[in-house]
Amino acid sequence: MSTSLLSRHGRGPSPRFGPLFAAAALALLVGGFALAFYWAPEDADQGFSQKIFYLHVPIALTAYACFGWGAWKALRLLWTGERRYDLESYTAIHMGLIFGLLTLVTGSIWAKISWGQWWTWGERQLVLFLILFLFYSSYFMLRYSTDPGPRRERNSAVYALFGVVLIPVSFLAVRIAGTILHPTIFTHEGADLPWQMLVAFLVCLAGMLSLAATLYRVELTGKRIDASLRELRELLA
């Protein structure tokens, strides 16, 4: 019985790495924010408000990474047919939505300081990120509109894979559009910022990715226990 439960929902991640990820997230985020505020120079154009960059951009990139991870797990499900990938893909997209919502909120705060408005429909990158966010929000509606089982898992996987196409479009939109409001820091010529800012940014990014990895593991473990308990209850009924 236990083998069947494990094979269906997957073996839990090694518990040794959980605290390691959490410790790395804490150390890197605290260190990264300290570097951003006390070491990295203040931006000549935006002044103190540019400090949101060290929060907003890592969160946005982490959201993309979570959606990408979800799509990769979806592809693995379709490729191998192993059902454990369904829960992994679902959890990654769940995490992506949390970071996506944080991207929209912190981006709006930054927009309010820099542009004087919370949101502008004229910026393609903002609108495309909103579309990406709404697309993945619909993933949950699709998922829960069908009964649990292989059909739902396949449909969800295909949907997750479609969504990942929007990521490069969203990422490249500002470069293709050549707009003037949303700043473009990372171009094909490299990072357009002082090296101290780049170091602080990379530490913050590593911290945010570690935080996402920690939350992903906690969430996945919870969902696996939930699913196994549900199955056990059915077996005992």
Binding site: F33, G47, F48, S49, K51, I52, L55, H56, I59, I98, L102, V105, T106, I109, W110, K112, I113, L211, L215, V218, G222, I225, D226, L229, L232, R233, L236
Partner: protein
């Protein structure tokens, strides 16, 4: 505190608040799972006559 400082502080507090809310949700979930596990254990004992 300048307006920019207030907004920047607000943005960082959004992240902190989100993490705290997430911890609260997980704490509630762990509590629920503990109760469900106790129920399943009780049901298994009754079924096995233990």
């Amino acid at each position: 505190m300048s307006t920019a400082e207030k907004y920047v502080t607000g943005a960082y507090l959004v992240l902190l608040g989100s993490i705290l809310v997430y911890v609260l949700i997980i704490a509630l979930k762990v509590g629920r799972l503990e109760e469900e596990l106790a129920d399943v254990t009780r049901a298994a004992r009754e079924k096995l006559g233990g």
